[in-house]
Amino acid sequence: MSNDRSSVIYRFMMLVVLSVALMIIDHRSGLLRTVKIVTPVINIPFESVVGLPGKVQSSLERYYPDNKLYDRFIELKKKQVVLEIKLQQYDALIKENRRLFTLLSASKKAGDEVLLTEIIDVGLEPFSHKVVVNRGIESGVYLGQPAIAPLGVLGQVSEVGFRRSVITLITDPSHGLPVQVERNGLRTIVKGSGTSDKIGLPFLDRQADIQQGDVLITSGMGGRFPVGYKVAEVTEIVKDANEAFLNITANTSAQINFSKEVLLVWNDDRPGFPSRSAMRGRTQ
């Protein structure tokens, strides 16, 4: 019995060592990257089974529409009209912008190339602020690509696999994002707070011109995110006399828990990354 037990413990220790080695290789080097591109093949059947109830529900809703759905339809229709009107203005702005940039002979381009992806309905662990989307390396998705939900910035691609990529949300504590205040152009960095829908601004000192209700947009600093996407709205500013920095919390604009569609954006400002059309020979 004791012999048996010690052999089990011995085997356990060996497995621990093996796991640690695996984790170090995975985390510190890119050796397992190719493996990780292939592993989502296993995920796809699991995720389709897990997502089945949701699919059934949504198709039932399609066949048995209730009043709520009709109200939503009307609401969306109204919204679409507003958006279309705004879009005209936006189109005009893009044209003007392009003209101005050609005048300046700059390579910068307004209006980014995008890919519409869908969030996979799968329950990851609560402490990992990540979502999975249904496009991967074969659609040209790259590591660090910005992901944007209809109402604001969602996060960035942190892992690319076969037909799947993982997006680390801006609420993840390891995620930092350069932003500016829309009102006055004050630049800073937001950091994920670890709680859903909330981010923090830890780097503003007490003299900073910021107030409740200020809208934060991406500043384009660092070159990873394109300029001008909405990020969050400042909800709380705590001024502590003992602290040199303000304690600011902001609510993310993207309704992260309710988003279904995500836009992946090809940011041409990013140095060293060919645009999607150059890479894949197609434009969108």
Binding site: I9, F12, L15, L18, A21, K36, D121, G123
Partner: protein
């Protein structure tokens, strides 16, 4: 994991099938208020089979299941493997003692083992990803422990019905 020669029907298929079901349940999305209390079905099923068949299902199974879980959760390879191997280790070492326990006493053991599993996973996640270890994450150990009697009853029924040995 150990091959015990020429036993008649071994039926590993049943074990694998229940583990696959548990993996699916682990991946199922829950409503927001339950997010932190999602029970770990894989731990429960693994724990059961290690108790029932300690000579066949052991740390190796736990480790492999953990690696599969890592792939399914898109986490770094090995993050869940240590925790699940530990679950299997405790079950295999203590299987004789566990059989003497009442179901509610077993629940307590499942709770503690589940806590250790979560601690392990969270600790690794914290090292690699920089996150806070908050108390709410341990509520899932509680729900896992509360589900133990259910899983125990179901799996015992399955095992006796199909005769996995």
């Amino acid at each position: 994991m150990r091959s015990s020669g020429s036993r008649a029907p071994r039926r590993s298929g049943v074990i694998i099938f229940t583990i696959v079901i548990a993996l699916l349940l682990n991946l199922t999305p829950y409503p927001d208020w339950m997010e932190n209390a999602r029970p770990d079905w894989v731990t429960l099923v693994l724990f059961y089979w290690c108790l029932a068949l300690p000579n066949r299902v052991g740390v190796g199974w736990g480790w492999v299941v953990g690696i599969i879980l890592d792939v399914l959760y898109y986490s770094i390879l090995g993050q869940h493997a240590i925790g699940k191997a530990f679950v299997a280790l405790i079950a295999v070492i203590a299987h004789r003692r566990m059989r003497m326990y009442h179901l509610w006493q077993q629940c307590v053991v499942v709770f503690l083992v589940s806590c250790a599993d979560i601690a392990c996973t969270l600790w690794i996640y914290r090292i690699t990803n920089n996150t806070g270890i908050e108390l709410v994450y341990w509520t899932s150990a509680l729900t896992t422990a509360l589900l133990w009697p259910v899983i125990y009853t179901i799996l015992r029924f399955v095992r006796q019905r199909i005769g996995v040995s």
